[in-house]
């Protein structure tokens, strides 16, 4: 896919499309990927249809190695069933695949994130008198706790990239190096954060988030204005590689032809 020419003109694609494409690029061939609904699902499907045909997608409703023929509306969509290799339920996917450590990569989203990649999908404001009550963990806590690595996808602004999350739904690196080990988590941690503005990773020594690349058309000022702590920037920060023609074509024609999630 890297051999194909990148689209020169900008904007020839939507930010949501670039997010799904960045997510797909994180999946390696042959990996077992734990997929949630929405953009992560498109990322997983795109990876499978391009560079990672042997990627196995598992869905928490109980589907192993799904090959959906249309865009699933939910993690429990019946269209995930025909053509899959095994069906169980939450117990099988969480208990027999995720918890013992067979999931290479999991996708999660969030309403708030801090510098260590801890996520909140539960509540904005005080827990007992919330300003905004959000859906809650779902499977996110399990995926963030037990996958070998996680890909975080979310929209970015300063109210979402916060000094301290209002509720810690899903652990990232907790409070830095050794944080996960101290609370007893067996493995894992966030490896990348993909937003509509850029791509972020976590420093090996501090476990703190830093900017790896900003998306085409996004300035460093845009990035800084939309983070509420003093964000670290990679010494050789670059622009995110734009979508290739093939990535865009497959995403638009095979992953989400109706634009359900791409908008």
């Amino acid at each position: 896919m890297a051999t194909e020419a990148s689209l020169a003109s900008e904007p020839g694609y939507k930010r949501t499309e670039l997010m799904a494409i960045c997510a797909a690029r994180e999946v390696r061939d042959g990996e077992i990927a734990f997929i949630g609904t929405g953009l992560p699902m498109l990322g997983g499907m795109l990876a499978k249809y391009t560079h990672a045909p042997h990627c196995i997608m598992v869905f928490e409703s109980g589907v192993v190695d799904a090959r959906p023929t249309r865009t699933p509306l939910s993690i429990g969509d019946a269209c995930l069933v025909p053509g899959s290799v095994m069906l169980g339920g939450l117990t099988e996917v969480f208990g027999l695949i995720l918890q013992p450590g067979y999931v290479d990569v999991g996708f999660i989203g969030g309403a708030q994130i801090d510098r260590f990649g801890n996520l909140n999908t539960t509540v904005i404001g005080d827990y007992r008198r919330p300003k905004v009550r959000l859906p809650g963990s779902g499977g996110a806590n399990d995926i963030g706790s037990l996958a070998k690595r996680t890909i975080i996808m979310m929209k970015q602004d300063a109210r979402k990239f916060v000094e301290k999350v209002d509720y810690l739904t899903t652990p990232g690196w907790i409070d830095g190096p050794g944080g996960r080990e101290r609370v007893g988590l067996p493995r894992g941690g966030p490896s990348v954060v993909i937003t509509d503005l850029g791509v972020y990773r976590f420093a090996d020594d501090t476990k703190e988030m830093y900017l790896e690349s900003h998306h085409p058309g996004v300035s460093m000022d845009d990035i800084r204005m939309n983070v509420s702590w003093d964000l670290r920037i990679a010494p050789r920060v670059r622009e995110t590689k734009p979508p290739t023609k093939r990535e865009l074509r497959v995403l638009r024609t095979k992953c989400d032809p109706q634009g359900l999630f791409l908008g």
Binding site: S61, A78, G89, L90, S137, G138, S145, Y167, G184, P186
Partner: protein, 313 residues
């Protein structure tokens, strides 16, 4: 006598709710993204049940409707939203403004809730799990104390686990594809948390798309997830999960769900929706008639038959 008991289980929706779902019980729903017990949910609202504790891993319109209608006092679960269609606004109004009443939720993860149901279904007081550690799911309690306990492996592996309490239900609802007249309930497609969750109910009420002769079940017993001897009521209810999918019967009604999501954003909009689709129809048959044949025709599942296996020996 046993035959009389068998026939006693078959009953209409209204009777099952009247007989088995009193105010104040711990009630379990079912289905993850599909096969939700919507006919039961609508009827519980029509019969104006109150003070229920509603249990499930992940809820969508089922819990949102019951909260909006004032049926729910407490929740134990993991997720409440409308998936791709957005946030659940009755839930938001209840949690943020106490409309129509204040409710409480005790939160675990999806896997956590499944393990809690598994414990209850197996007659165990708790179950260990390796997620929840380091998160506010462990630290922030609502009405259960303790909500969870962290334990170092007493056998010395050095592993830490969170112990989560069993989650029994007084009544578990299941919407299944089919069952026989004894209630042996068969399900295919994703199981969600319906195996352990349904069996965590002291009483089990099953609504089905079809009641089939028992020989149909007995020719394919691998598909049964609830044995009939555990089932208290069988409600034959075609389209009993609309607007959700039932594999092999019908697809999700996405426009219907989208309309609910849009109209429920305001209290007035939600009240008009529920007046039209719940209070305004006498029973689920009337609801299905209101949907209309044109709409139903677009939702009916196409044929995609499984292979057959040889059970011979």
């Amino acid at each position: 006598m046993p035959e009389l008991e068998v026939h006693d289980k078959l009953m209409p929706l209204t009777e099952a709710v009247r007989k088995f779902i009193p105010d104040g019980i711990r009630l379990r729903g079912c289905g993850i993204g599909l096969k939700r017990p919507m006919a039961f949910v609508y009827e519980v609202i029509r019969q104006r049940r109150r003070d229920l504790t509603f249990l499930l891993s992940g809820w969508t319109e089922d819990a949102d409707l019951m909260i909006g209608a004032g049926c729910v006092e407490k929740l134990e679960g993991s997720y409440l939203g409308l998936e791709a269609f957005g946030l659940a606004y009755c839930y938001r109004r209840a949690m943020e403004q106490g409309i129509p009443r204040t409710i409480l939720i005790e939160e675990y993860s999806n896997f956590g809730m499944t393990m809690r149901f598994m414990a209850a279904s197996m007659g165990l007081p708790f179950m260990p799990i390796r997620s929840h550690l380091g998160s506010d799911l462990l630290r922030v309690e609502s009405f259960r104390h303790p909500k969870a306990v962290v334990l170092d492996d007493p056998f010395g592996s050095g592993a830490k686990v969170a112990l989560l309490p069993a989650c029994p239900a007084d009544v578990a609802l299941l919407h299944a594809q089919r069952c026989d007249e004894e209630g042996n309930a068969q399900v295919w497609g994703q199981l969600g948390d319906d195996l352990w969750g349904t069996l965590a109910g002291k009483r089990i009420l099953v609504s089905v798309e079809e009641v089939v002769p028992t020989r149909v079940v007995r020719r394919d017993p691998n598909r049964t997830i609830v044995p009939g001897f555990r089932v208290d009521a069988i409600v034959p209810q075609p389209w009993g999960s609309h607007p959700y999918q039932v594999q092999g019967y019908y697809d999700a009604d996405a426009p219907f769900r989208k309309e609910y999501a849009e109209r429920s954003v305001t209290l007035e909009g939600w009240e008009a929706w529920v007046a039209e689709w719940v209070y305004g129809v006498e029973d689920h048959e009337a609801y299905v008639r209101k949907l209309g044949e044109d709409r139903l025709a677009t939702l009916r599942a196409k044929k995609l038959l499984s292979g057959r296996v040889n059970y011979g020996y």
